[in-house]
Symmetry: D3
Subunit: 136 residues, 6 copies
């Protein structure tokens, strides 16, 4: 009787993709327009997936009010209207690619959720580019 529940969130952030030890030329070659040192930005869409057993009394896997609040407090308030490179210590030494941002979000939520629940995070950078961790 294991089921998965999904809840969406969103935040709008600026970022730059570049390896600090590389030259501007190499960063531009590898990261293209994403290497712009003045930053660009995205409307990130997040899908949090939790898997576990439904409580037979309430018919719920998790209270969606609590999950919505958790996503707001831990993810949206942290990253919304921020510069991921400059404002967010999570990216002091980590390039804020969609892949790394997805890892970081997974790590933050994993610590706050009951260990009985499996967690997967899907992150949309644009409607056409997205990532998911862990891979299924």
């Amino acid at each position: 009787m294991r089921i998965s529940i999904f809840r969406k969130g969103h935040f709008n952030s600026a970022h730059q993709l570049a390896v600090p030890s590389w030259s501007d030329e190499k960063n531009k070659e590898i990261f293209g327009k994403c290497a712009n040192p003045n930053f660009h930005g995205h409307n990130y869409e997040l899908v949090v997936k939790l898997t576990g057993d439904v409580d037979p009394e309430t018919g719920m896997l998790i209270n969606l009010k609590d999950l919505k609040e958790l996503i707001k407090r831990e993810i949206e308030d942290r990253f919304d209207h921020k510069n991921l490179n400059l404002d967010c210590p999570e990216f002091n030494r980590l390039i804020p690619t969609a892949e790394n941002l997805c890892f970081v979000i997974w790590g933050i939520l994993r610590k706050k959720l009951d260990q009985k629940l499996d967690l997967t995070v899907r992150l949309f950078e644009t409607e056409r580019n997205f990532v998911e961790y862990p891979a299924s």
Copy 2:
């Protein structure tokens, strides 16, 4: 050569979330606005996923005309423009949460489909809240 095919359906229903043996206060505390005794409602979106082997002659896993008709007859006609609590015997003793509604839909379709086909049901209660059974 196993492939999955997906077909969407939709229905609009009213429901209330409450444990009958609980007080109104406790139901409101746990289910929040969803406990409104006068009901609220949703545009439910359904994604039926079937997995199996493609017929080499027709190049089809299942005839989509038949799947569309099955979803209409067994799910849409049953739940569309209904009150899940009052009109649908499936919820006489079951709270119509998204989780339980997903189980019920899975059970109805499972009996009508060839056992060679694996079945997964994803149910959207809103664009931001959805569930999937069985969990992958």
Copy 3:
């Protein structure tokens, strides 16, 4: 330099469509499944459109934070997770069709907005059915 700004909102409600003075048969004939006396429901999507002149200093027509808060306080809190027929005095004598709900929302917002701003309300009952008032 007149511009229009749009802001979306949403709420989930139950309703029934029926003329109280008509027989059940006539209501069923005219309103079809929408006449179900036990109610059904929808995820309503709302688009509020305001038209006026941009403030040359701020570059804004209206502060979107204020508009978002107005829609939440006046519309979403009023109709979300409610039964339009039973819980909302606006529909004591008015059938909660999409058309009438759109008029009601327009009337509520019109009183709260600066008269220099023109107001149009678009209301989606489903993705495929929607209305707009006033007509353009």
Copy 4:
């Protein structure tokens, strides 16, 4: 026989909303999180609407290949993966609100299009916030 044709485009940019002559406190009070001096960003969606008469021989109002190319060259290449405040001279003295960005895009396209065609630009900053110029 006047018809309208619409073509979508998109670009991803960073920006900050602040009046340079105001204090940080006043900018934060008016623009909220959008005043973050380190910038944030958006996936902008653009809808260009042209109105005019259809060529009776080709059945076209305008060649969509040309319109797509114009939007790419004049708008997407100019603003995509840019910081609107720092990289784009259009905003040297203009705050890059959605309203002002919509005016700027309209002005750029207006100069490049046949005067026989009426032009309207709709710009989505997020899925829930958008503007249109000129107002209809």
Copy 5:
């Protein structure tokens, strides 16, 4: 008290864009890939907009069941899974551009609707290309 109501429809068709009296080279130059003599195709999305006065007794502008049925019978059944050039006499002498298809649909529906209702048709050829007649 004039309001607009919208109803969506859809159909999937093949077509080719070419002026019969032109050379293949000129057709390819003007219509690009759309001139492929073996046809290509689209999932067309249709939005029918009607404007008029709401019936004060029913709260409806038009019965949506009737409008849905009209769109199915007159438009979807006529064009769905058809080759617009070969199967549809409407395009014997007319190139099936989005513009012309929109005119044709408008003309078909106009004859079937009460003259008290104003009619506008929006037709999506793809998510990024669409037309509307008459122009507003």
Copy 6:
């Protein structure tokens, strides 16, 4: 640290579904309107999913610029504005059902991608019908 990355593509094509050795009557019985010998068409949407390990230096699983270019060159340029039955040798002996088109796309991309990356292809024939290979 295995992650999945997704990239969307799209193409517009015509096709017909029919078994050559069957009678017209049998093809119409099994394939319905899809058997129209004059073809119909679709806006196909494609989601390419790659799974593997992220490069710790760049924070990327694969360079999205390269993946976007690969999808354009190998899939979109091959199938866009084509008749799958007449123009595409892949379907000389294969019926272009969604299932078979998904297999074909998977086979084309599989040869061009690093063997360390797992590949899944999801193909939308319409918004309501789609397939995925391999099945998860």
